[in-house]
């Protein structure tokens, strides 16, 4: 077995270029003759456009074109579609024109596009586009948006209600509550986040008149989906005439899943003016227009019997979906959310209603965790509140209700069948690793320094490895969710792995190469992973939902298996034996009972320099491909333990200790997995303590539109972390892996807020728990 196979802490293959400034991000790409785009965006949350005058802008120096919604119409370009409609949700999806057609609906909504010789000229001219707005009343709060008399965003979506969806058995849940010994209820707001990948979105499009074809370089987690939408749904051109390339992508966290109007506009403009067109978002544009995440207002009730056993959970959520439905629309707020409401527990009856509201805010889509953080926060908070109100120890209450280790596969009342897990084991390990026994001592030490210390737990589960295609279809997705891989060889043994996923920092070039190295017994240095180019990768669904390893990695593993089958036939031919007698192990082919032996490299060479193949029964070449469709989601689970200190004078909260114990199934590269956990946890800590998108409730102006106002977690906000594992392999994929990219973001918010409530002795506090809110909570608690 090579040193860099599955399980090794292999250093990343991609790092050398990133560390020497040779990464190639979209903004680094320049095409000959390129011109620049700048957008006119709405300064109003809601307004009718009385008139739009582009004459002055068109006459500005360097301007090549000033384009508006009318030009899109004239060219027969369609609006930007939503690709998801939750089954049973009676979805009403408004039309989203790429450039405004008489109306703007959020601050940052696109009004016009200027292309000019230089970026400064484009920006100068964008300022000269004269737009006469007639401001309309705006609504940014989803509860208010659904109330009678709220400003109506779209004539074809009555009451701003875009989705009204239920999951679970309402009658059974009512019956469970009717027999409950204790009911615990609370209201929560799951705060809106702005994803803030450090690389702002960017697109460069180039039209090739000779072939009437286009190439779009863009910041995407799923370039094939972008191609599908632009070519087939928006521009009406054959998909094969549009090549979409996502080069190095500087973080995504969900924000580069959606296909955005700017991508279409840059592509369309480049065809229209027959010049390459480049656009790079300023950070202010990212804040305004990158799909935001979360934004729920929820009422939750938990029914318990006299022994503290959970009987039922009832959830009513109003979800803010923004001014238009983004590419995956209500997916995060319906199926990725309510299906996780059983948590790690046996809850015999669950019912959830989600109403999706359109508001004068930026559209909402997946953000790291996407629905599962919202579910986990709800479950792990209400369990904690239930513990306080029943007087049952919070660990004990969880243990009483865990799905037992011998109950898998476990069918929840909210559609999922958990395939594997051992929650008791994870909890036990977490208690040990986090030294929970020593907490009281640490609490006394903190008190001596004038700080209140709190301890919080979050026993999360997630469904990831998105997703079985039959499930994707059944729940209302417009795409399947299998993944593809293709492996090609050069005669001298170089291996090219084409994957349908797309790394934005997750290290696929290394992890995927490790899989191939292990499976084929080849040195990792000769294995290259290629992603993100529709011109070379046949098809793929991209990277999100912690799916890349579980689904894409499995496709690669199965491709390797196909290669081995073929290679055995080649080896049998070369070694003049029956194929049944050929064994493959550690990169070598042997014939049982003989000393005949061939290396994988020799077989590769022979497959391509196939001088003596019986070509009627053995084809030259070893290339194989696989479309792998998983049988189920994967179910990573774990226990995160947080300790915080509160400064009583200021309300300042510091996370002083954080332990993550996770069951991700098998782990391919522990170094990378730990990095994913660290990063995810900080997304969760950020949501809990720092990050909260705010719009002015009256004007709909974005109040957190820069790093001056939107609090990003920084190095000095955080401690170092402790990470541990337990392992129950996934039973249904060839690698036994479950996925790790979102766990931290899912688990951490509840761990932090539970610790904070513990420290302050309060029932609940909404996120982000800023110092001012914490101080107010302390003052109220003292009254």
């Amino acid at each position: 077995m090579p040193d860099d196979g599955i399980g090794a802490r292999t250093l990343r293959k991609e790092d050398k270029r990133f560390l020497t400034g040779r990464g190639r991000y979209t903004a680094d790409i320049n095409r000959p003759g390129q011109i620049y785009a700048a957008f006119v965006r709405s300064p109003h949350a809601h307004a009718a456009i009385r008139s739009l005058d582009t004459a002055a802008a068109s006459a500005m120096p360097g301007v090549v074109a000033v384009l508006t919604g009318e030009d899109l119409k004239a060219d027969g370009v369609n609006g930007v579609p939503c690709g998801f409609s939750p089954t049973g949700g009676n979805q009403k999806a408004p039309t989203r024109p790429a450039l405004a057609q008489g109306r703007v609906r959020f601050v940052g909504d696109l009004v016009a596009m200027v292309v000019a010789e230089t970026l400064d000229e484009a920006r100068d001219a964008a300022e000269a586009v004269a737009v006469d707005y007639d401001p309309l009343p705006a609504v940014v709060d989803p509860v208010k948006a659904l109330a009678d008399g709220a400003p109506l965003l779209h004539d074809d979506v009555p009451g701003n209600l875009t989705v009204d969806w239920n999951l679970g058995d309402a009658d059974a849940t009512d019956a469970a509550f009717a027999k409950a010994a204790k009911v615990v209820a609370f209201d929560l707001v799951n705060n809106r986040k702005i994803p803030n990948a450090m690389e702002p979105r960017a697109s460069v499009a180039e039209y090739e008149p000779a072939t009437d074809s286009l190439t779009l370089y863009t910041t995407s987690q799923n370039p094939h989906i972008t191609r599908l939408l632009i070519a087939a749904f928006e521009m009406g051109i054959p998909e094969g005439r549009l090549r979409v390339v996502a080069p190095d992508v500087g973080g995504g966290f969900g924000s580069k899943i959606p296909h955005y109007p700017e991508e279409l506009l840059v592509t369309w403009a480049s065809r229209r003016v027959e010049r390459p067109v480049k656009w790079i978002a300023e950070r202010a544009e990212s804040f305004m227009s990158d799909a935001h995440g979360r934004d729920h207002v929820t009422h939750a009730e938990l029914a318990l019997d006299a022994d503290g056993k959970f009987l039922g959970l009832r959830v009513r959520t109003i979800a803010n979906l923004g001014a238009y439905l983004s590419t995956f629309g209500a997916l995060s707020t319906t199926y990725l959310y309510a299906t996780l409401l059983s948590g790690q527990y046996v809850i015999p009856a669950i019912h959830c209603n989600v109403r999706g509201a359109l508001t004068n805010t930026c559209p909402i889509d997946a953000e790291r965790g996407a629905g599962r953080p919202e579910a986990t926060f709800l479950v792990e908070r209400i369990v904690e509140i239930a513990a306080a109100e029943t007087g049952i120890d919070r660990i004990d209450l969880r243990r009483r209700n865990f799905v037992p280790a011998d109950a898998f596969p476990y069918q929840t009342p909210v559609a999922l069948s958990y395939d594997s897990g051992d929650y008791e084991k994870v909890l036990a390990k977490a208690l040990e690793v986090a030294d929970v026994a020593g907490f009281e001592t640490r609490k006394r030490e903190s008190a001596a320094r004038g700080k209140r210390r709190g301890l919080g737990f979050s026993n999360y589960i997630e469904a990831c490895g998105l997703a079985p295609s039959n499930v994707a279809g059944a729940i209302g997705a417009g795409i399947a969710l299998y993944e593809t891989a293709e492996i090609r060889f050069a005669p001298t043994g170089a291996v090219s792995v084409y994957a349908g996923t797309k790394s934005q920092g997750q290290g696929h070039e290394t992890t995927f190469a490790q899989i191939v190295a292990s499976r084929l017994g080849l040195p990792i240095d000769q294995i290259d992973v290629i992603e993100g180019d529709t011109g070379t990768v046949q098809w793929g669904h991209g990277t999100y939902g912690s799916r890349s390893l579980a689904v894409g990695g499995s496709a690669i593993a199965k491709t390797c298996d196909k290669i081995i089958v073929k290679a055995k036939r080649v080896a049998a031919h070369l070694m003049e034996s029956a194929v049944e007698d050929v064994e493959f192990k550690d990169g070598s082919f042997t014939v049982a009972g003989t000393d005949r032996k061939l290396s994988m490299g020799e077989v590769i060479m022979a497959s391509y320099v196939s001088h003596n193949f019986p070509t009627d029964e053995l084809e030259p070449g070893l290339d194989e491909r696989c479309f792998y469709d998983p049988a189920n989601f994967t179910y990573p689970a774990g226990c995160h333990v947080c300790e915080i200190e509160v400064d009583e004078d200021t309300g300042f909260v510091e996370v002083v200790k954080f332990t993550a114990v996770d069951d991700f199934g098998e782990v391919v590269n522990p170094m990378i997995v730990e990095g994913q956990v660290h990063g995810g946890v900080v997304h969760g800590i950020g949501q809990a303590l720092y990050e909260g998108c705010q719009y002015d409730p009256e004007t709909g102006q974005l109040l957190t539109g820069s790093y001056m106002d939107y609090t990003m977690p920084r190095a000095d906000n955080l401690p170092s972390f402790t990470v541990g594992y337990t392992t129950t392999p996934c039973p249904h994929n060839p690698l036994g892996v479950k996925g790790c990219g979102e766990a931290g973001a899912i688990a951490a918010p509840a761990a932090v807020i539970n610790a904070l409530c513990d420290a302050l002795g309060i029932r609940h506090i909404d996120m982000p728990a800023t110092p001012m809110k914490v101080l107010n909570a302390m003052q109220q608690a003292a009254e």
């Binding site: 400064d120 920006r123 100068d124 300022e127 202010a284 004078d649 200021t650 300042f652 720092y690 705010q694 109040l703 957190t704 790093y707 001056m708 106002d709 939107y710 609090t711 990003m712 906000n717 800023t770 110092p771 001012m772 101080l775 107010n776």
Partner: protein
């Protein structure tokens, strides 16, 4: 950014002439505020006059009873300078907490004081220490210098040469950061001077930096953290934003004052 002309004078006279000559010239004293402002197209000067080549504006001197810091001295220099650390350690401490390291490498004391951002740190030190702002035209006492948000006593064509800080007996600065921008939500500079206790508050006032009479009185009677904390500050006239309401700022002022008192050196 809008277009402008760039000038880099090497003498003060040249700088003065450039400032007097342009249509709407602005001084570039480090650029950590004006450049971001211009990038967002919120300012459009006709000319930028870069003062970094003017030797007269640099340098730190201890004159015995005062510390004189040239206008173009960077925050990093003030933070690390042995003369400053010996004369007024609180000033070095304050400078070491401005912005981040890269901002401290470029931003200057003169630029910060002239800009008078209501959440900047230096104005608190200048006011609490009763410093004198020396310009190309005159000397301006701190009490007369800061007028309102981003407004000072400076005339359009006036350039700050240096700031003279009388040495206090003891002084300290404590601030509560805005978690996003890292500017002060509340910063309190406490100085025990020959002529009594002076306390200046930045980050909190609707009109920018101000002296707190309540805290000066209380600390004049008892220079203890407890005395500072016991002061009740009114929320009237204080800023409110998404991070801190006027009431929260009012609460933080005595808290930060008490921390400054505890740290007096």
């Amino acid at each position: 950014m809008y277009a402008f002309d760039y000038h880099k004078p090497s003498t003060l006279d040249e700088a003065k002439a450039l400032l007097a000559g342009g249509e709407d010239p602005k001084l570039l004293a480090g650029g950590q505020t004006i450049l971001p402002t211009m990038k967002q197209r919120l300012a459009s000067p006709s000319d930028l006059v870069d003062l970094s080549g003017v030797a007269e504006l640099k340098g730190i001197r201890d004159t015995g009873d005062a510390l004189v810091i040239g206008a173009m001295t960077t925050h990093a220099t003030v933070a690390a300078d042995a003369t400053v650390k010996a004369a007024i350690p609180a000033l070095a401490g304050l400078a070491s907490g401005i912005g981040d390291p890269q901002v401290r490498h470029r931003g200057t004391i003169g630029g910060s004081v002239a800009n008078n951002d209501p959440a900047a740190d230096y104005p608190a030190a200048v006011l609490a220490l009763g410093a004198t702002v020396k310009t190309t035209r005159r000397e301006i006492a701190a009490d007369d210098f800061f007028q309102s948000l981003f407004e000072t006593a400076l005339e359009e064509d006036e350039i700050i040469l240096s700031i003279a800080f009388p040495k206090p007996k003891r002084a300290a600065y404590a601030k509560f950061d805005n978690p996003a921008s890292r500017y002060a939500i509340v910063g309190v500079f406490v100085a025990e001077t020959g002529s009594g206790v002076r306390v200046a508050v930045t980050g909190a006032g609707q009109e920018g930096v101000f002296r707190s009479a309540e805290l000066e009185t209380a600390l004049g009677q008892s220079m203890t953290p407890e005395a500072a904390k016991a002061v009740k500050v009114s929320a009237d006239g204080l800023n409110g934003d998404i991070h801190a309401s006027p009431e929260y700022r009012a609460h933080l002022i005595p808290v930060m004052a008490s921390r400054a008192v505890a740290a007096l050196a």
